[in-house]
């Protein structure tokens, strides 16, 4: 007698049980992602672009040529060897822009993803990004005599810790009095925004000290020694700074900590099942605090690299504008689309980076699509990604339908579904 009727560890069975017991957001998300593997995020992106295409169509443009113009605007055509001459120069400039934006997108994506893996939802990327930037701009514009390398490291460490401390407030509130991190991080965003508006305002404590600029609500410039070196392109034309390597290193750290360290083991255990984690002797509250602080460090690093790499100063206007649709909010979409994994976050960040720079007024061919409209298209696609991932039922149902149809035809699927219970 064979043993083939033992309940099989088939994926269908797993899904069934996972649904029944997926109580935490992380477990729910895990069930969702296990259900689709790499197919789900690809499908999500395709669906978002498809609906975006419909929007383009409604505005009376050709979706295909528009998407092609966005692609070229992002500079991604640089990878094709047949692009040459002035076209190639433009492509290189555009790609540098795309990658500059990708840096903070990766890091704010990690800030959301790391929280997710612990069952937390970090909406506070914006505040953490801003606070990291405030500290970086202060350190970077002070200490003018410092050796360059030291000054850069000092500014990066300070900005990163600033972001960590800012998010740590939300973590501490969650760990001690159980305040929900969604509420507290949103509140902290606004506090950070108005803190910036105050710091750099006219006569604010960190307003610039340049006598000719006293009527401008803007910070001092980062001194030359604290600026990140540019390794591709012209520093005068916003070439690509070395921050991208720091961001990629952060991705490696993220992966190592989460998947290889005892800390990451605790974080994932808490994310999937806090009760089981507690039973295993893990201090759940400490993990909530720690994880929020690490998330804040990622976002704070994003703000720091942006300032040291290409912004060099903060104006109160920038701060106030960032509250509505700043880069930091894209971190949520990046993490969702990237399935909260290291590699997924990089790919999703690059996708959104390309979309943002490809639709910018500077890069998009105005004959094909008016850039004023195209910028909003990026936000539409971002919104669609969040919507589709949040309404996971849609993609999952599509996938299930497809799968069960496939099963009926091929009849090779794993069995024992009914015996799962």
């Amino acid at each position: 007698m064979s043993t083939e009727l033992e309940p099989q560890p088939g994926e269908v069975e797993g899904e069934e049980i996972a649904e029944g017991y997926a109580q935490t957001p992380a477990a729910r998300l895990a069930a969702y992602f296990d259900g689709g593997g790499v197919l789900v995020p690809v499908l999500t992106a395709v669906l978002a672009f498809f609906v975006g295409g419909l929007v383009i169509l409604i505005t009376g443009h050709n979706p295909l040529s528009t998407y092609k113009a966005i692609f070229n605007g992002s500079g991604l055509n640089w990878i094709f060897p047949w692009v040459s001459g002035s076209e190639r120069t433009t492509a290189a400039l555009n790609l540098q822009q795309t990658l500059i934006i990708t840096v903070p997108l990766i890091l704010t994506g990690l800030a959301v993803a790391f929280a997710f893996r612990c069952g937390l939802f970090n909406i506070g990327g914006l505040g953490q990004y801003l606070v990291g930037g405030y500290i970086a701009v202060w350190v970077g514009s002070s200490f003018a005599g410092m050796p360059s390398v030291l000054h850069i490291i000092f500014a990066i460490v300070a900005g990163t810790l600033g972001g960590a401390a800012w998010a740590g407030i939300a973590g501490l509130l969650k760990a001690t009095v159980g305040a929900h991190e969604v509420i507290s991080t949103i509140m902290l965003n606004w506090i950070a925004v108005w803190l910036g508006a105050y710091l750099f305002a006219l006569n604010g404590p960190l307003q610039n000290t340049d006598p000719s600029q006293q009527s401008v609500p803007i910070s001092n410039d980062i001194v030359a020694g604290a600026k990140l070196p540019v390794f591709w392109g012209d520093p005068e034309l916003q070439g690509l700074h070395i921050g991208i390597f720091i961001a990629l290193a952060a991705v490696v750290v993220f992966w190592l900590v989460l998947n290889r360290s005892t800390t990451g083991y605790e974080v994932r255990a808490v994310g999937f099942n806090p009760e089981a984690a507690r039973y295993g002797g893990i201090n759940v509250s400490w993990n909530y605090f720690l994880v929020m602080a690490v998330c804040g460090a990622f976002a704070g690093l994003a703000g720091t690299l942006d300032l040291l790499g290409w912004q060099f100063h903060i104006a109160t206007n920038d701060v106030l504008n960032s509250a509505s649709g700043g880069l930091a909010f894209f971190g949520i979409a990046v993490a969702l689309l990237g399935r909260n994994t290291a590699s997924g976050t990089v790919i999703a960040a690059l996708l959104f980076g390309a979309l943002l720079s490809g639709t910018s007024q500077r890069n998009l061919d105005p004959n094909i699509f008016e850039p004023e409209l195209a910028g909003n298209l990026t936000f539409i696609i971002q919104g669609l990604v969040v919507l589709i991932v949040s309404a996971d039922v849609i993609v999952l149902t599509m996938l299930r339908r497809g799968r069960s149809m496939f099963k009926r035809r091929s009849a090779t699927a794993p069995a024992a579904k009914a015996e799962a219970s």
Partner: protein, 507 residues
């Protein structure tokens, strides 16, 4: 033939796997026909075929002698087939009456006719002795009540064939008795009942006939008259099963766990354990028996470091470990087979290797303090999986892909691998089938004989009496008596419901 239902030669394949292999099953009106089998034997598949969730590859379904095809639950309902699932499908925020009439509401114009709904519900509930309050919200009523609502809903939709999928799994003993009385009433009224279970005593008590499935095949259909638990278990598992635990007499040695004057609060902050004291010696199994909700869970949680102690002390091997937390308890030799393996004992989305590491992931065994050693985790998992005969997955399978019995083996393997002095086993066989229960019982006895002290918390009379060397009865948070394992069920029952304490007070 006056069969209400006939399934003839039902075969259902999932790819290469035959979940049902030419299974015959029939049901007369006014009969309880039990469907018995281990987890994975094909019971649920067969009933899913009947309920229109699966289309059979071969075979025929007849209702009242007429061949039918059933393609959806709605068609099954139209044919008078009702199903009460293990996990209830009720809307928690709606009232009992609203839930029952859901999808077939009596209406007054465009509105729900509330009075007619209530009247119908009342009429049904009186007819079958299924007392429910039509106005109560489902979220406010007990699990047993919710089950009645499910049954009433099936009846309301005109069910004459009622399928109950492991209906007693979620019920207390008293609720199960109430359910059986309801089933008797339904029987008398001519309703045919399919009773899915793997609890042998219940099947013998309530069913008229039993069909045993094993690995997708129908092994036999026998009348319950003349059948015994042993004969059914043999049919079910395919070999002799030791329902009674065979164990040599205990040879208790030094005390390993001493609990003194323990007071513990429940989640609402009310006293749950009130001055309980107990001692467990190495090499004995001490059962903590009691009706659910008398503080035994809180006591177990306090002893395993999961619940703060108000007053009193917990000593392990002479060391005071009061309030040293879950990790402290494990480090000092108290392991814990948790009551609910899904909620607490396992991280279902973790692999087996990760789950098996839950107690010791940060010890030198499995990490260098900061980085995990995946290889050592995997090797250790492979060894434990082999030693405990965990089937259905390897070190990198997710815990949620295993059957309940195999999940429990993972928990037990992990807890024993810590090499504890005290093993606290809370309801270690809940939801398991006879084969798995036998495994768990044998293992607990062999760990006892290896010199561990075992505290067994169980709600099952049988388990307590067959496994324990001493029985402590807990009632309203106090240990109200100690009994030898050969105590009569009546005496134990009286003590568990507070009778012992009253007698003491009178004396």
């Amino acid at each position: 033939m006056e069969y209400a239902l006939e399934l003839r030669g039902i075969t259902k394949r999932f790819g290469p796997i035959v979940a049902n292999d030419a299974v015959d099953f029939d049901l007369k009106p006014g009969e309880v026909h039990a469907l018995l089998g281990e987890n994975g034997a094909g019971k649920s598949t067969l009933m899913s075929v009947l309920y229109g969730l699966y289309t059979p590859d071969e075979g025929e379904i007849r209702v009242d002698g007429r061949p039918v095809t059933i393609n959806s639950p709605l068609e099954a309902i139209d044919l008078g087939i009702g199903m009460v699932h293990q996990h209830f499908m009720l809307v928690p925020v709606m009232t009992v009456a609203e839930n029952i009439v859901l999808a077939q509401e009596p209406t007054k114009g465009a509105l729900l006719d509330v009075d007619a709904s209530k009247a119908r519900v009342r009429e049904l509930s009186e007819r079958y002795g299924l007392a429910v309050n039509p106005d109560a919200r489902v979220e406010d009523i007990t699990v047993g009540m919710q089950q009645r609502v499910e049954i009433l809903r099936a009846l309301y939709r005109g069910a004459r064939i009622l399928v109950l999928d492991e209906p007693t799994a979620v019920l207390t003993a008293q609720e199960a008795n109430d359910l059986f009385r309801v089933l008797e009433a339904l029987k008398a009224d001519g309703t045919g009942i399919v009773f899915i279970s793997h609890k042998l005593n219940e099947v013998l008590e309530i069913a008229d006939r039993v069909t045993v499935l094993r690995r997708g095949k129908r092994i036999d259909t026998v009348p319950t008259q003349g059948a015994t638990e042993e004969s059914l278990a043999r049919l079910m598992v395919g070999r002799e099963v030791l329902l009674r635990v065979e164990k040599p007499p205990a040879q208790p040695k030094e005390a390993v766990l001493e609990v003194t004057d323990l007071e513990v609060s429940d989640d609402r902050g009310l006293p749950a354990v009130r001055g309980a004291s107990l001692t467990i010696r190495a090499g004995e199994i001490v059962a903590l028996a009691g009706v659910d909700g008398n503080g035994q869970s809180e006591l177990v949680e306090a002893v395993t470091g999961l619940r703060p102690v108000q007053t009193g002390t917990i000593r392990v091997g002479g060391t005071d470990l009061t309030d040293s937390g879950a990790r402290g308890m494990v480090r000092h030799g108290v392991s814990h087979i948790a009551e609910d393996r899904h909620r607490r004992g396992l991280v279902l989305n973790f692999t087996l290797a990760e789950n098996l590491a839950l107690r010791e992931y940060n010890t030198p065994k499995l990490s260098n303090g900061w980085l995990l050693s995946l290889k050592r985790m995997r090797d250790r998992a492979r060894g434990l999986i082999r030693e405990y005969d965990v089937r259905g997955g390897g070190p990198s399978s997710l815990a949620l892909s295993l059957s309940g019995g195999n999940q429990q083996k993972v928990v037990i393997a992990r807890e024993i691998a810590c090499n504890p002095r005290v093993l606290v086993a809370a309801q270690p066989t809940r939801g398991l089938d006879v084969g798995a229960i036998e495994f768990v019982h044998r293992r607990l006895v062999s760990e006892r004989d290896a010199g561990r002290g075992i505290l067994l918390m169980s709600l099952e009379f049988e388990e307590v009496r067959s496994l324990a060397d001493r029985i402590l009865v807990i009632y309203e948070g106090e240990i109200v008596g100690e009994f030898p394992p050969d105590v009569s069920e009546e005496e134990l029952g009286i003590a568990m419901t507070g009778g012992g304490r009253q007698r003491e007070a009178a004396a």
